[in-house]
Subunit: 223 residues, 2 copies
């Protein structure tokens, strides 16, 4: 069986879980506390990074972007990238936007500071300056989602692509800790409601990190 | 004419410059001080991020990874990704390693702290703790390059790929400020000597940032 090593609050793991589910591929999930640096895990991932996908034939894949591209190349049903090079570039530009910019400006500042520091062995109290920066930055990203989806059904065009998977992976982590200001961003909320109602998202909505319960609206399709 | 908006010490811009040169594509270079947030530039790049490629037909491309994949898809001579999905995944895993891990652990800590903070309007003195972290982390990355190239000619296999472009883009920024401990890493040095001798690298070796002259060995093929 295909196995994914992941962690529920790791946005890059979430991206791969969405893609596996969009492709209707069966897989075992193993929760990996990467910060514990287990020897067996380091043999799969030289940098100790999540996620790692081990295919049925034993081939090991690391890096969420590499895994998603691989899955889309090898399972052509429900493509998550369009066929035309220019349209593919637009999807990948948005993947980069959410994987890097949103992650560095928002997810890292909120999820890592408020939750990951507490769960892991990383020393130190949450950095209140980072948390403030995360709350300051989230608005422009939610506005960008609204701007895009006023012009397109999904973030990169007419159908659900890797861009939506990347954005939903990051935002669902923030939503898990209850920090998305949905009331102020109806456009982004409308897009996220469409994402939440996809069967591929069910797995994520069932996540429960011990000691960090999600708010009630997290799994609610009518939030 | 194709135009690339870039900055000499931006590693992601460097990656695209290498790829354009590997593909033997002509392009105009425009140095963009992204931190000045020029209105005309923000029209090309909603996040104000480098690099941006404007194609001959006026189409605008952002995000270095998206641009590199696009160039490789549309210019099939000298492919920078192999044909087999598993081999492509290995190239992309390494691209992710250098774009994210190396960048966050080394380039950001050394180049951004020592140089970018001074050149831009970002307030504050260099963070000596970050600089120490950058120097501490660089060794494992250079050892990883040596480990890979003991087993393969280039980082991901038998020929130069996007993985080598990504790694060389980051490392050449560190080398520009003279901070790569080449003496302690002969394996990585051997790989970088091969990179430096490629015609695609000439443009980068001619870079000169006003006020930040590179060390003499930077452009020297026999360093």
């Amino acid at each position: 069986m295909r196995t994914l090593y992941h962690y529920p609050l790791c946005p890059f793991s979430r991206k791969v879980r969405i893609v596996l589910a969009e492709k209707k591929l069966e897989f075992d999930e193993r929760i990996e506390k990467a910060w514990e640096r287990r020897d067996e895990f380091l043999e799969l991932s030289p940098g100790g990074d999540l996620p790692v996908l081990v295919e049925q034939n034993g081939t090991i894949f690391g890096d969420a972007t590499a895994i998603c591209e691989y899955l889309d190349e090898t399972h052509r049903d429900s493509p998550l990238l369009p066929a035309e090079p220019e349209a593919r570039a637009e999807v990948r530009r948005l993947v980069g936007w959410f994987d890097r910019k949103f992650h560095d400006e928002v997810t890292r500042n909120l999820v890592d500071e408020k939750v990951t520091k507490r769960l892991t062995t990383v020393k130190g109290a949450p950095d209140s300056r980072a948390i403030r920066a995360g709350f300051a930055h989230i608005h422009q990203h939610l506005e960008y989602i609204a701007w895009l989806t006023e012009r397109r059904t999904w973030l990169a065009g007419g159908y659900f692509t890797l861009a939506d998977a990347a954005a939903a992976a990051q935002i669902s982590c923030i939503d898990y800790i209850g920090d998305v200001p949905w009331d102020r961003h109806p456009g982004a909320k409308e897009w996220y409601a469409m994402v939440k109602s996809r069967p591929s998202f069910r797995l994520l909505l069932a996540d429960h990190v011990p000691g960090v319960p999600p708010p009630k609206h997290y799994a609610d399709l009518d939030f």
